[in-house]
């Protein structure tokens, strides 16, 4: 009597059809990726606190606060007299308002729902939130390009890719944070529009493009790559009614919408950067017309007509373009674009562009650092795209190739490259995995049948091995990304931290100390002079008027500040009186070893100072030793040792012992004993110096009484 009772039931507790399981799996992976992309950006907030951590975003934060409090119209008409004294700045007309409008809307909606979160927290968490959205859009984009599987892999990859995280951690509140989302959204809509050829998707693409224009200057990349895609489609003979509808709609609606942003204004019809799009729009019409005519005429007639029209149109087009450029109707390309095409352009011509570290060409190592396995998965993805060439694959190939060039030119554009790397790698990984996974499966189920078809040696084993290797790669990628995020991209710049001798964490909170001192202990209308890097921070945190800031729109003004810093005290006093300066602020790292201080930036001040007419007396070589070195010790050039910047940084530093066994006045950044020690300031007096001497603030003395 040992017959056991058989189980008649066929399903477990989770009763689901295959489609439902599929949906559940996709949703689960996607939502986990979205949550992951949000949470892995929180390192800096968890380690420090929920504040804006970077320098530049302080401006965005300040404007968002203004928008949230004062409303859109006063924001639009805002003339900021706190910056660029005495010129001021029209904020409403000189920024991309997308970021501010987005956060202000989120803030208002949440508060309308009585979720009383303040503007600062909305700003801090906006970038991680938008990264989650980017993850979802990436899934859809890659799904359109290849398959849902590729979409999932791409989504998971973009969730943690360091190249994107570097610009979107919590507390870095910058345009790029939402711009990448907008860009991918536009691409997705565009691909949809090309695939379907419907007005609906084309219009959606135009709206997404409008959002992109409103949020980042990088929209120019979009308005060049989409026409280029259309052009390539035309050349390869893939031009169709779908493409015609998609592009014509996108261009017309998109251009009209983009002109609503006051910073963009009439640029889409007047500058060279946008001319490509316009030209392709015209070509589209011609191509469609030609197709129409061709369908009505016989071949010989058509040939004649075609030649005649083409030559006339080309000739007039070129002529008109040249004339307009000569007459100044079409602005020539701006400096940043020249430097995109010719990396050495900026260095030779515009010091202010070259002085920004993120405008430097990218080092090879940083490709690997920011993208890891994506760098070698990228060509594989390209291969898979080429092997199955479709309209949309052409687009992603184009995007990949162009952005890898741009990323090589400028570090900043790594950001544009990261998404396409993820998508192409997603396609590659997913294609390879699905190929090999099938091999493992088939051998198992059809063992008997395929026994004699063994055209592959050890098919299952090799497939298993390959899948294992791929998994190892993916795990390595995850580990690398987490490590990079945690170590490199999550340390705030407003708070510096170091390890003490006993391993405890020492915090240098000097920036905020100084800005807070300015905020509470100087007159409301005090004018502060500093190098432009600290402009946004001073206006936002110290709420004081500044002369120049990170919006480097007026080179002459910045140059004037550079001249003041590079001159002797007397000359500088004249400039400071002319500019009505009350306080001067310098960043000095000699005591703590903080290397990005003003002495290390000083050569840029000299170069920028000397680049304008008024500063011709400032020559870079005066600040070098005869041997051509930049030194602050006794060997240093006397011009350097007596200029205002030197004096402000090293005032009374000559008496300080910084390191054991070294003489007083030993600079820990440049590792030398300073050359000019015991001097007094005539026209300035020390107003405040922070605990670790990182920020030093000087008060400009009044003119002496006559006869005194």
């Amino acid at each position: 009597m040992s017959t056991s009772i058989l189980s008649y039931r066929t399903r477990g507790w989770l009763r689901m059809s295959v489609e439902k399981q599929d949906t559940l799996l996709k949703m689960a992976v996607l939502s986990l990726a979205a949550i992951l992309s949000f949470s892995c950006r929180l390192f800096s907030v968890l380690r420090f606190e929920s504040v804006i951590h970077e320098f530049d975003p302080y401006f965005n934060y300040r404007t968002t606060k203004f928008l949230a409090e004062e409303g859109f119209y006063s924001f639009h008409n805002w003339f900021d007299d706190r910056a660029w004294y005495p010129l001021g700045r029209i904020i409403g007309g000189t920024i991309y308002p997308g970021l501010m409008v987005t956060s202000a809307s989120i803030y208002h909606i949440l508060n309308w729902l009585h979720i009383t979160i303040d503007v600062r927290n909305v700003c801090v968490f906006l970038a991680p939130f938008f990264s989650s959205l980017t993850t979802i859009v990436t899934y859809h984009l890659a799904k359109e390009l290849k398959s849902p599987g590729a979409g999932l892999v791409a989504a998971v990859m973009i969730a943690i890719v360091p190249g994107y995280i570097s610009r979107s951690v919590a507390g870095s509140y910058d345009n790029e944070g939402i711009a990448i989302f907008c860009m991918l959204l536009t691409y997705y809509m565009w691909i949809k529009a090309v695939k379907t050829g419907t007005l609906f998707w084309s219009t959606m693409a135009a709206l997404a493009y409008f959002y992109m224009v409103s949020s980042w200057g990088g929209y120019v990349f979009l308005i060049n790559i989409i026409p280029l895609h259309v052009l390539i489609l035309m050349i390869t003979g893939r031009f169709s009614h779908r493409v015609y509808v998609a592009y014509s709609t996108l261009y017309v609606i998109g251009t009209i919408l983009s002109m609503q942003i006051s910073f963009v204004g009439f640029q889409p019809v007047s500058t060279s950067e946008h001319m490509g799009a316009f030209g392709v729009f015209g070509l589209c019409q011609i191509h469609a017309f030609v197709d129409y005519v061709r369908s009505r005429l016989n071949k010989a007639q058509f040939e004649v007509l075609f030649r005649a029209v083409i030559s006339t149109v080309a000739a007039t087009g070129v002529l008109v373009l040249v004339m307009l450029t000569a007459m100044g109707k079409i602005a020539p390309w701006t400096g940043r674009f020249y430097s995109l095409l010719d990396p050495s352009y900026a260095k030779n011509n515009i010091p202010i562009i070259a002085s920004v570290s993120e405008h430097q060409p990218t080092a090879w190592s940083s490709f690997y650092f920011d993208l890891q396995m994506l760098t070698f998965m990228f060509p594989v993805g390209l291969y898979f795209c080429f092997s199955n060439l479709t309209d949309e694959n052409i687009f992603i190939i184009l995007y990949g190739v162009l952005s890898i060039y741009f990323a090589g030119v400028m570090v900043r554009l790594m950001l544009v490259l990261a998404p396409v790397m993820c998508i192409l790698s997603g396609i590659a990984v997913s294609s390879m995995l699905s190929t090999y996974m099938k091999q493992i499966d088939e051998v198992k189920t059809e063992k008997k049948k395929t026994k004699f078809e063994g055209n592959y040696f050890m098919r299952s084993e090799i497939a298993t091995f390959f899948v294992c290797v791929m998994s190892v790669f993916l795990v390595m990628y995850t580990l690398h990304c987490t490590w990079v995020t945690s170590e490199a991209y999550s340390s705030p710049s407003i708070v510096l931290s170091a390890r003490g001798h006993d391993g405890s964490r020492i915090i240098f909170d000097d920036f905020r100390e100084a800005y807070y001192w300015l905020r509470h202990n100087t007159p409301q209308d005090a004018k502060v002079m500093s190098w432009w890097d600290y402009g946004y921070q001073i206006t936002a945190m110290a709420n004081r008027t500044i002369l120049v800031d990170n919006n480097t729109w007026n080179n002459t003004h910045i140059s004037r500040v550079g001249q003041a810093m590079a001159s002797t005290e007397d000359k500088a006093y004249e400039i400071m009186q002319e500019l009505d300066v009350d306080y001067v602020l310098v960043i000095f790292g000699g005591l703590t070893g903080y290397s990005s201080d003003d002495i290390n930036k000083f050569l840029w001040m000299v170069r920028i100072g000397g680049s304008t007419e008024k500063g011709t007396h400032i020559k870079e070589h005066d600040y070098y030793t005869p041997a051509g070195e930049f030194r602050v010790d006794k060997e240093g050039s006397p011009t350097l040792l007596n200029c205002l910047m030197y004096k402000m940084c090293y005032y009374r530093f000559g008496q300080v012992y910084t390191e054991g066994g070294k003489p007083p006045g030993y600079d820990r950044v440049r590792n030398v004993e300073i050359g000019n020690k015991d001097f007094e300031l005539d026209v300035l007096e020390e107003a405040y110096t922070t605990e670790h001497w990182i920020v030093r603030i000087y008060k400009v003395k009044d003119l002496p009484n006559r006869g005194a």
């Binding site: 008649y8 807070y516 001192w517």
Partner: protein, 604 residues
């Protein structure tokens, strides 16, 4: 008096001491009782901190024929303007003080103190007057350099200002250090280490004034809270959140010339500057934060002690004379320590203000209490008069109608004002459910919307192919359900067979098995019906269902066969050996059929 009665009639009873509002009080007219004599006055003047603390021990004597009910305390107008706190005690009982005016002395300020028991002729009474005045010490010089010591000047009266003749009086002045620049002398005057004694003086007539000046070194922190906003947010879920926003100003001698960090770090001689101060908050405080507009202030320490939490707050920068800063501290305390209830009635008893630092002076205090949503009948009682501001409504997480907010304000406070307020209100317990329900409803609506959205088909044209697909999939789903039911019935049938084996009760078993077999037939019929329906849309799946039915038939047949075998065995119509032989192939058949069914169902 008016002010007192109009604000809180009810709180009058609770008055334990009285602090006089600075202005706006219409005082009662009083005359000076010539019969009263101060037999003895011992005055103590403590000017060692930024405050001026005056204690007068007065022995009053009634020299006239009639009993005396009240006496007057006199101050100069300047002193009255700076007066923050006044308390008059006789023994341990606190006496009622009210502002008064005397027609002949318009330039002076008077307070009438009502004695507890009328002073009978010829008798004496001892009273103790305690006063605290702020901002009375004047930095002199008003501007000093970083390394200089802070000197202040006190200007007063060698005699106690009183309307009555004083028989004998002494004044003792307490100083922070022995360093005195100069002091006025009126014999007999003695100066020992940190104190100066004036007197005793005999037979001083009323209103006698002899200017006293003491110019001395005072490096104690001259720190004033120019504005303190204290917000208490009560939650009935067990937490009370306290947040204080403070504007702090150094009111000592202002810094002249540069601030040198080098000297500051090297010499430690910045006498009057303030590097840090201690704030004591309740022992049960949790989640303490210390921040300002630009983020967390990283330079603070917290020490948890038995009876309190001590915060060592260091502003971002040291405070020199004339420098100011602004910060927030906040913490949570459990509500059971401060909130008392009986049914729906609640009483909140908390401090009007808490300790900020020692010898604090607060120019303006605003206390705001945010109560839970739905609170009614709010009654606010304070131990001393405060100006009640209009009630407002505050909205935060999960609020619908908003939380009632009660706020009061008062100027010029010192440590002696750290006392409890009482807030009575009514809160129906049922409202506790409001917030969880709100969340539940919100999620319910969300899910409902998703469910509707997924099922909603707004397309204009009919898509036959998709619809057929959906129909098939729903039918297949039903096939699965029916099959599952059938499988359960088979299991029951097997159980019956086992039971039969042990009980050998054929008749009972037969009724049971008949019933089960009937149900199995019903399910099979249902699947066949579904199969017919599927055939209309998708022949392939219908085929599979038909195959399923076929397999099921073999399965059923073998089970029924088993049943009959067992019946036979029980009835003795079959030998055990025969039964065993028949059983084995049947079992195998069943297993095979089941395996196939599983594969088949996986594909449907």
């Amino acid at each position: 008096m008016c002010a007192l009665t109009t604000i809180h009639r009810g709180s009058m009873r609770l008055l334990v001491c009285l602090v006089v509002a600075v202005t706006g009080v219409v005082a009662a007219q009083d005359g000076i009782n010539k019969d009263l004599i101060n037999k003895k006055i011992e005055r103590k003047l403590d000017i060692s901190s930024q405050l001026v603390k005056v204690t007068q021990k007065i022995t009053l004597e009634n020299g006239g024929p009639a009993p005396v009910r009240a006496f007057l305390v006199t101050l100069t107008q300047v002193e009255k303007d700076k007066l923050s706190y006044m308390n008059v005690q006789s023994g341990s009982s606190v006496l009622k003080v009210s502002e008064a005016q005397v027609a002949e002395h318009r330039d002076l300020a008077f307070f009438r103190v009502d004695l507890r028991d009328p002073l009978q002729p010829g008798k004496t009474a001892n009273v103790e007057v305690e006063m605290i005045m702020t901002q009375l010490l004047e930095p002199y010089p008003a501007y000093i350099q970083q390394g200089e010591k802070q000197l202040v000047r006190y200007t007063g009266n060698h005699y106690v200002l009183t309307p009555y003749t004083t028989t004998t009086q002494t004044t003792t002045v307490t100083l922070p250090s022995p360093n005195i620049e100069s002091y006025s002398r009126l014999k007999p005057t003695t100066h020992t280490d940190t104190s100066i004694t004036y007197g005793s003086y005999e037979g001083v007539a009323g209103f006698t004034v002899d200017p006293m000046t003491i110019h001395y070194e005072n490096n104690s922190p001259f720190l004033m809270v120019s504005k303190l906003e204290r917000i208490i947010e009560v939650s009935h879920w067990g937490n009370i959140a306290v947040e204080e926003t403070l504007d702090v100003l150094h009111t000592g001698a202002k810094l002249k010339g540069p601030f040198s960090r080098y000297d500051y770090q090297r010499e430690h001689n910045s006498y009057s500057s303030i590097k840090s101060f201690k704030t004591i908050i309740p022992a049960s405080a949790k989640d303490v934060y210390y921040r300002d507009e630009i983020g967390n202030i990283s330079t603070s320490h917290m020490r948890i002690q038995d009876d309190a939490v001590e915060l060592d707050l260091r502003p971002r920068f040291p405070l020199f004379g004339g420098w100011k800063t602004h910060y927030k501290i906040g913490y949570n305390v459990p509500s059971y320590e401060y909130l008392y209830s009986s049914g729906d009635e609640y009483i909140l008893k908390m401090r009007i203000l808490d300790h900020v630092f020692d010898d604090v002076t607060i120019d303006e205090l605003k206390l705001t209490v945010i109560l839970p949503e739905g609170v009614r009948n709010v009654a606010f009682e304070t131990p001393y008069p405060m100006e009640r501001l209009p009630d407002t409504v505050h909205y935060t997480y999960l609020d619908t109608v908003g939380r009632p907010v009660v706020s009061v304000t008062k100027r010029n406070l010192v440590e002696s004002h750290i006392q409890d307020f009482t807030l009575h209100y009514k809160f129906p317990a049922i409202l506790m459910l409001q917030e969880p329900l709100l969340v539940v409803i919100a999620f319910f609506i969300l899910f409902l919307t998703v469910i509707l959205y997924v099922r909603l088909d707004l397309t204009l044209s009919k898509d036959d192919a998709t619809e057929a697909k959906m129909r098939v999939s729903s039918h297949c789903e039903q096939v699965h359900t029916h099959h599952e039911k059938r499988a359960r019935l088979y299991e029951k049938l097997e159980e019956e067979i086992q039971k039969l084996k042990s009980s050998k009760d054929v008749t009972h078993s037969q009724t049971a098995t008949k019933k089960i077999q009937g149900s199995i037939r019903d399910e099979t019929q249902a699947i066949s019906d579904l199969s017919a329906k599927i055939r209309l849309d998708n022949a392939e799946y219908a085929e599979k269902v038909a195959e399923l039915q076929k397999l099921d038939k073999t399965l059923r047949e073998s089970v029924v066969q088993q049943l009959t075998n067992v019946e036979k065995l029980v009835a003795g119509k079959m030998s055990k050996q025969q039964y065993m032989d028949a059983e084995a192939p049947l079992h195998k058949k069943k297993e095979e059929a089941l395996e196939k069914i599983k594969v088949l169902l996986g594909n449907i």
